[in-house]
């Protein structure tokens, strides 16, 4: 029996904590982590970090439901923009997030997204005017769908290592073996 991929280790820490630490170090706040499966085991991973945890009981219905849960948890907080990130992109770090927030300050468009490969996706920053849309995402739609829909209202920040995300055991082994080398996505294919 395997373990939740969020608990896979890379660079001395788990993928989940790595993502949370990136948010903490980049000075975004407040931070909401939405857990789904195996929530009890994952909560311990985030023990001493300044963030809130929300458990999405219907995680099984799709990523959209988790993002909706996260946006609901932010209700009432004061912020100009919300960053959406996942816990399965091991190369996301504080510097990457700060580049997004820095770009957000200088551009007029409401979305700043990471670009890698031939696509644009998370981590991404949405102006607060997008909160209604994020709060109304359908279950199977993630932030990526909103970005694709937004056309020219998106500013891209290149992040080639964003193409590396851990979906399968092969992805993980690939990541471990390339840990000593640099550059490029880590998919087996």
């Amino acid at each position: 029996m395997g373990q939740p991929k969020q608990l896979l280790e890379h660079g001395g820490t788990t993928l989940l904590r790595r993502a949370a630490q990136a948010a903490v170090d980049s000075d975004v706040e407040p931070i909401v982590v939405v857990l789904g499966a195996h929530a009890e085991r994952l909560v311990a991973e985030l023990a001493d970090l300044p963030l809130s945890i929300v458990v999405n009981e219907s995680w099984n219905s799709g990523i959209g439901s988790s993002i909706r849960a996260g946006i609901r948890a932010l209700d009432g907080a004061d912020f100009d923009a919300v960053a959406i990130l996942l816990a399965d992109q091991p190369f996301v770090n504080a510097a990457v997030l700060r580049r997004l927030t820095a770009a957000f300050r200088t551009t007029d468009v409401p979305i700043v997204a990471s670009s890698y490969g031939d696509t644009r996706g998370v981590p991404a920053l949405f102006d607060r005017t997008y909160l209604p849309q994020l709060a109304a995402l359908s279950d199977d739609c993630g932030a990526k769908a909103l970005i694709a829909d937004a056309g020219g209202a998106v500013h891209s920040v290149p992040f080639p290592q964003g193409a590396c995300d851990i979906d399968t055991p092969a992805d993980y082994h690939q990541l471990q073996s390339r840990n000593q080398r640099n550059g490029g996505p880590c998919h087996a294919g």
Binding site: P4, V32, V34
Partner: protein, 211 residues
């Protein structure tokens, strides 16, 4: 989909341009979800701490305590403290003017002392305290020197200003005669192409008098 109108251009007055602090008015949602769970047990990889910075041959791991916060970084040994702050840590308040220690735009504090960050290597400061303009004050809680610069109109284009303020704040703790000439002498390492010097001196003297 509900009948939400397509969002228009965001209200620019809501955006807080926080360049001087490097802070962010952004929240974050980290969504996790399980799709498949790998069968193999995760192996513990090398106990390298989370480090910001490029993964390149010969990169050196260092820790810098920047504005009170420990940052673990991976840097090219050739990276100056200036380039490390701007490019790796993405604190762009410190400016690159001449890159040769001649203009002072890159002035930061290392262990409380003002230095030209362009003429020192990041690797030389492993474990040391670095203070940048972002750590001096925030728009809502400006350092008295920042307030004085605003009040006295001590800048025009603003490019030398971070360095001027960092230099001036450090000057407050250095031996300096009471007169304007002494201040000018001690600030001679910061040049201003716009010629805001008279107001810079006024600002500094105001802060010194009220300290």
């Amino acid at each position: 989909m509900p009948d939400d109108p397509r969002p228009g251009p965001p209200d620019p007055t809501r955006r807080k341009f926080l360049y001087t602090t490097g802070g962010s008015a952004a929240a974050a949602v980290i969504a996790t979800y399980a799709t498949s769970t790998p069968d193999a047990a995760a192996q513990r990889s090398s106990s390298e701490p989370i480090a910001e910075g490029p993964v390149i041959e010969g990169a050196v791991p260092i820790t810098l305590r920047i504005n009170g916060k420990d940052r673990q970084l991976r840097v090219d040994p050739r990276a100056t403290l200036l380039d490390c702050l701007r490019e790796t840590v993405v604190l762009t308040g410190t400016k690159k003017g001449c890159d040769h220690g001649q203009c002072g735009a890159c002035t930061v504090h290392v262990n409380g002392q003002r230095v030209n960050s362009c003429l020192t290597l990041a690797v030389m400061h492993d474990g040391e305290e670095i203070t940048t303009i972002e750590g001096i004050g925030t728009p809502d809680a400006m350092h008295p020197m920042q307030q004085a610069f605003v009040r006295c109109d001590a800048y025009q284009c603003g490019y030398c200003t971070s360095g001027q303020i960092m230099s001036a704040v450090a000057l407050l703790k250095e031996p300096c005669g009471p007169d304007d000439a002494a201040v000018r002498e001690l600030m001679s390492g910061n040049i201003c192409r716009c010629g805001a010097y008279p107001n810079i001196v006024t600002a500094i003297q105001q802060v010194r008098k009220n300290a």
